[in-house]
Symmetry: C2
Subunit: 354 residues, 2 copies
Amino acid sequence: MNMQFRWYGKEDPVSLSYIRQIPGLKGIVSAVYDVPAGDLWPEESIAHLKAEIERHDLAFEVVESLPVHEDIKLGKPSRDVYIEHYQENIRRLARHGVKAICYNFMPVLDWTRTQLDFPLADQSTTLVYFQHQLEQMDIEKDQLSLPGWDTSYTQEEMRKLMAAYRALGAEGLFENLDYFLGNILPVAAEENMNMALHPDDPPWNIFGLPRIVSCEEQIDRILQLDERSQHGLTFCSGSLGCNAKNDVPALARKYAKKGRIHFAHLRNVNLYENGDFEESAHLSSAGSLDMGAIMNALFKEGFAGYVRPDHGRMIFGETGRSGYGLYDRALGAMYLQGMWEGLQIHTKKGQVAT
Amino acid sequence: MNMQFRWYGKEDPVSLSYIRQIPGLKGIVSAVYDVPAGDLWPEESIAHLKAEIERHDLAFEVVESLPVHEDIKLGKPSRDVYIEHYQENIRRLARHGVKAICYNFMPVLDWTRTQLDFPLADQSTTLVYFQHQLEQMDIEKDQLSLPGWDTSYTQEEMRKLMAAYRALGAEGLFENLDYFLGNILPVAAEENMNMALHPDDPPWNIFGLPRIVSCEEQIDRILQLDERSQHGLTFCSGSLGCNAKNDVPALARKYAKKGRIHFAHLRNVNLYENGDFEESAHLSSAGSLDMGAIMNALFKEGFAGYVRPDHGRMIFGETGRSGYGLYDRALGAMYLQGMWEGLQIHTKKGQVAT
């Protein structure tokens, strides 16, 4: 297990100097943020990011995310230019030592929550998804803005985008993913770059937009498109775990066994009976997911890939980027490392995952 | 395992509101701090402390420390009054739901470090003990002040105290501990109060003062004085672990097996070859102690007692009470809880410590 921590670059309210003080971290997950989706990442920007991270005694081996342009997802004729850019970005990142790239194939919206500062009983705040709140939103009329959403669209553009995706449907979206993968995986294989597809978050359709990376059946179908080891997953326990039908430990075990988990996002969620959820502290007892069973699944399969704590609550009076404060994620990193060490103890004489 | 967190009362820069946001904590370890050593703790103060802690959904079941007056340690005639106070304090604390009391029998000085803000490579600061720094201190001439030290003595009083302890010697100190235990353990047994003796920190003589709770042989001798289960230890990995001759996991296993560990302080230290040490982050790989082996020893013996993370570094720009900042101790609490959960996974069908 190679423990990482996400950092949003110079604009991140959390400094690398502080992140470095979290024990056991090996590296930073980051991206070049000042380039529009689909454009080339300047080599100087990549080199500068790497140097800044390494100056803090951390490695830069995981990119999150290298965004996929909407034209690729929609299968527009212009996609080929963006795919060429994507290929070239893979080559450039490989040249600078990056080993894994996290990406997703969600239309328009990235991860979606309906409230970012829901107060818990202990006065911390967290991200939640309440269906009744979602139903009050009209993405085609209101100027909505949530982290992870691209806010550069006008309302008119948004309406057109939404209509295009609805016309495309899940099967069309899948075909476009297939086309994309068919073009980038050969480059990834050449460069020995692990491509780590992130599941949909939450794992169901929102605003009628198709989502195709939400459950075992969908993931199996996608992984079967190409058997190269570079074609893998960002295994996100919190995204998959929002649907109680997803058996997260079983999925962790299955895909780790196949060697298809290149990066794991490990966090817990607290599911309500009606399907709503709140993001909880990482601890198993704080939410609905059995984090021990998930970690054990990875451990048993000898998982040695990249891991990071995921969204944290806002605790200790911290303000900042929702889900990405320093403190609760640092607690998560320590909890996960302690668990891993505990799992190793009984197998010290046998095969030990690192 | 019952995870606790130490709090120094209203004057503590760390608030209960923040402590409560650390996942998995069951209770607060605290004391009545505005009463001189040896005096009675007012019932209202105990009740108020308990109410304040419970208002934050935490339990108040562990006191650290109930100080032992120097006259008891020195065996002065006045000790009997102080012992009566001690007995009465045990009764009062039991009445308010306290289950365990941490105390120590170190002459004059409590835990001793030579620098409280030693900078580590990651720019965090920590407590260290460097012999060459200690040799520059003259406790009888300089007005020294370190946390845990009673600074109410004049230099003249300090000289007399030091002389009295040197004359007393280790054997005399042991006899005075025996006398003290002979008087308080019957009360503790009546009240079902676990008395948890803390080892010397560091576990060797300082400034020529005798220390008698520093190693296995000494602890065995003390525990043999009374076989009642209420006569037990605060098992402090960081204190015992400063002497490389102490096999901390073996001691944890031995005393847990005997049911004599009522409270555990779990932290790591980084030992130098010359015997100096710095306090490190809790993680095994951050220091010299194998925290996994220590936790596993407790786990194997079905330990279900109180535990707390111990001294932390100062990280994330925190300022405050040396060793007792919020952040690094919170990281320790999560690391230890993760480890415990990891240890439980392979024994879920068998006997499980809680």
